[in-house]
């Protein structure tokens, strides 16, 4: 059996490990082991391919060393809260690698050569187009998530037109290239540009908070790009792993849309929240009752049970450690403390779980939405920390609301509601929240971290 064949058969093992890994990743009990198994599959494939003949090791090792260093440092340094943008960047590099691989294969094999078969031309075009879109799209997603560029959905007149023009341009260049790939290098370069532009156009109109869905979708694309690159260089494992990720990403996208009660179309094209103001609905607000830290202290001090409802503001303020401390003080005071976690609180799925876990909040204090709601009437104080949409009763009552139909944490049913936020500004969905005007609601304005620190000193003082 030739060396090449052995290497290829080892890819079969890698593929099996990837499948097992993905399978285990989708259940909480086995997820971490699954990731390790999948990494093992990758290790086997990489080690085996290094045995191929005629490799130019110095460049390969240089590239790997630099890449590994960057990847490892970035992964170790990144704050837990910045995970989503990190994933976006890594994903973009995956797409970029597929683009570069196809480009490289073209330069080294087909540029100026007699004639590449049409099939090869097509797969080169595909991996450049998909890879490029993934690359620039992911970087825009990164920018939006890390607030390096404004996170608002950015819709402009004639957007559809611009998209169509760009795609037609891409098609034109692709046809020109496929006529005679050997001499078509300029067209290819043009196509690379267009792919990058298209990635930007694709993601820029989507709101920052929808980015998790976009990343899942781009993740699926990066799989497909790897798959196309596999066709370019006739490599099995790229095709298997790529299409596996492509399918998994697509389904994950679907599942995430479902969890947010939206359609993919709506996520991609509606610029959710861009047109906020009008979504408000009824205007019969009551009066907002602001409270001082001292007022809130007295309420908390007298409470038998307190439920914290964290939201995106907790992540912004990085107040998780303070919250845990406050929780402990309350418990010392004989109060029962629980955390009510909404599945889409924050800006990525599991955001709150990860944050609070980082601050060592015990697992059994984190209660899921469906478990806390029935008990809400008996809760003395619901303390809403930087959450907004996930406690907005409009989702239950107001059919005209943009978030109508989303299940919420029914904080408004608690005996007292305390809301920590900086202003009366709306949250992600850009709509008013009647909870803030409720009879039993007090607003504690200010950055969540500062407010809670103030509460802590009240307790200690």
């Amino acid at each position: 059996m030739s060396l090449n064949l052995i290497i290829n058969f080892s890819y079969v093992i890698s593929a099996a490990l990837f499948i097992f890994g993905l399978k285990m990743l989708s259940s909480p009990a086995t997820a971490r082991k699954g990731n390790i198994i999948s990494a093992l599959g990758m290790l086997i494939a990489v080690v085996m391919v290094l045995f191929s003949q005629g490799l130019d090791y110095k460049w390969i090792l240089l590239g790997m060393a630099v890449g590994a260093a960057i990847g490892i440092v970035a992964a170790k340094r990144v704050a837990m809260t910045a995970m989503p943008e990190m994933v976006a960047v890594f994903n973009g590099f995956g797409g970029g690698a597929s683009l570069l691989l196809a480009w490289f294969a073209y330069v080294s094999q087909y540029n100026g050569a007699a004639a590449a078969p049409l099939f090869t031309a097509v797969v080169i075009l595909l991996s450049i187009m998909i890879g490029g879109t993934t690359f620039s799209g992911s970087l825009v997603a990164y920018g939006k998530l890390s607030e390096k560029i404004p996170g608002n959905p950015y819709l402009f007149k004639g957007q559809q037109l611009a998209n169509i023009t760009v795609l037609l341009g891409a098609l034109l260049l692709a046809v020109l290239f496929a006529q005679d790939p050997g001499t078509g290098y300029p067209w290819l370069l043009g196509l690379i540009m267009i792919a990058l532009v298209f990635g930007i156009l694709f993601v820029i109109p989507i709101g920052g908070a929808d980015m998790p869905v976009v990343i899942a979708l781009l993740n699926s694309y990066s799989g497909l790009a790897a798959c196309a690159a596999g066709f370019v260089i006739n490599n099995n494992i790229l095709i298997v792993a790529g299409s596996l990720v492509g399918a998994a990403g697509l389904i994950l996208t679907k599942i995430m849309c479902k969890a947010m009660n939206r359609s993919l179309n709506n996520v991609l094209f509606s610029g959710f929240g861009a047109v906020s103001g009008k979504a408000g609905g009824r205007e019969q607000h009551g009066e907002v009752k602001a409270a001082s830290a001292e007022d809130v202290y007295y309420i908390l001090e007298a409470a038998d049970s307190v439920v914290f409802v964290p939201g995106y503001g907790l992540a912004v303020a990085q107040a998780q450690h303070q919250v845990r401390e406050l929780g402990e003080l309350l418990e010392e005071n004989g109060t029962e403390v629980q955390y009510a976690i909404h599945p889409v609180a924050g800006r990525m799925p599991g955001h709150m779980n990860v944050l609070l876990a980082e601050a060592n909040v015990p697992y059994d204090q984190l209660i899921e939405m469906d478990d806390i709601n029935p008990k809400m009437d008996t809760v003395d104080v619901a303390m809403v920390i930087g959450a907004n949409d996930v406690v907005n009763p409009a989702a239950l009552e107001d059919e005209s609301s943009a978030i109508y139909g989303m299940p919420i944490i029914e904080a408004y049913r608690a005996k007292n509601v305390i809301v920590l936020k900086r202003s009366m500004n709306p949250g992600f969905a850009g709509i008013e929240n009647e909870l803030f005007f409720g009879e039993n609601t007090r607003m504690l304005f200010g950055d969540a971290k500062e407010s809670i620190t103030a509460l802590i000193s009240e307790f200690k003082g």
């Binding site: 130019d56 490892i72 890594f90 899942a216 798959c227 066709f231 260089i233 490599n235 399918a247 998994a248």
Partner: protein, 96 residues
Amino acid sequence: MTAVFLTFVLLLSIFLGFEVISKVPSTLHTPLMSGANAISGITLVGTIAALTTGQSAMGIILGTAAVCMASINVFGGYLVTDRMLSMFKKREKGGK
């Protein structure tokens, strides 16, 4: 004929991807996404296989850049996923 084989592989992988991922709890979406993303760094294997000796300068630049990008994806991706998932584990230990 290779195209036919590859279409079969594609078809089967898609079905398999579907079967394997359906019904994940939303808490796991982010790590799962990141873990799948690390797998798509498989391009690394392809770029290594393609980076043979005797390339033009342009070829070397492109190839090395591709290896570098793919490595970022692979190393960073698996590590970040593991970090996230280690958090998830800690939670359970944190109980009473």
